[in-house]
Symmetry: C2
Subunit: 192 residues, 2 copies
Amino acid sequence: MYEVFLEHINRKVPLTEEDQAIIKTYLTPKKVRRKQYLLQEGDVCKNIFFVEKGALRVYSLDESGREHILQFALEGWAISDLYSFLTGEPATYTIDAIEDSELVMVSKSAHEELLKKVRSYETFTRLNITGAYLAMQRRLTSTISATLEERYEAFVALYPHIAERVPQHMIASYLGLTPETLSRVRKRMSKK
Amino acid sequence: MYEVFLEHINRKVPLTEEDQAIIKTYLTPKKVRRKQYLLQEGDVCKNIFFVEKGALRVYSLDESGREHILQFALEGWAISDLYSFLTGEPATYTIDAIEDSELVMVSKSAHEELLKKVRSYETFTRLNITGAYLAMQRRLTSTISATLEERYEAFVALYPHIAERVPQHMIASYLGLTPETLSRVRKRMSKK
DNA sequence: CGGAATCTTGAAAGTGTTCAAATCAAGTGG
DNA sequence: CCACTTGATTTGAACACTTTCAAGATTCCG
């Protein structure tokens, strides 16, 4: 158990056997079914989830009830409402499962102790958040300056596995446009 | 010298006198004039800059030569093309000074050594990037789901000091709209 | 003072959204 | 395994909003 997760850390920061043993004692496994909530807007986010298997999404809801997907997470990815997790404020995002999934949970107290006790865990956390920051930076730049075609193309090029597994209206939501528009964009593109 | 920078770290992670002394040996001061480049697209970004005084911006240029501002940086903020800095790839962003500014530079080798030698520096780096990540997440959510009025209002509420010191067309660029549109948005808002 | 940059305003063009309906695909229960 | 219900995707037409292009007004800085 926890192999996917530990292997994922190991790829970024080499872990000693001892580190691995310590880390394991702080982890909790969790299985969720398709459409099941992991976090609902308004609740406090008490965990970081690592995906061992399956697919999830984080999204916000606006006044008119529309969903805006902030992030997808497949195998090897981490998912959380980080602001709520760190501050204890109510979550502004909702997390649910797109497919039946198997997760590893790290609670807030576990996370804090691991940061203190296992330096490699802090380094892993730093590298992880740095990667997430850079990915989001690219996405923001593309959202602000690229055409719809380019944005959809860039998404498929960067996350082909997601495009295959996730319904189109969710990809539209991630890209910040309506399902109708994405359908038309795809049609325009297929004509070339 | 370096007081603003060290004080900024201290606010996030308490530093011992010894830590401070070590860190100081890795820093280099730099002054730049208004409109001066710190980094140009295509060059490799060799430093992280901390602003002690002044105002800077990071932006990308699209095919038609339009500027898209990714970030402003005032006193106490850090600025860099992090992807280029970390990977050694050519920068996709340009950095220049909006006002005459005083900076503290951390070179790549200095950054790496500090991460290894001074644990508080790694913790500071982790907290810093986490804060930047959360700020960008809010911005992305607002870009995708809010109206122009709301986005401009949120920007002014969050960064009043920037709105005062930076020309409007740069704020328009940051928000991802044309200067004309921002002018009209402001007019609409003032009528209420 | 004078030129450059900035901000504002107008009208036309372009682009994405909305709303409604049709088509297609998938999952469920009999 | 088929019939049925529900969800997802596509298409069309009218509409709303932002951009573009051009020009005028204002402010800033050398």
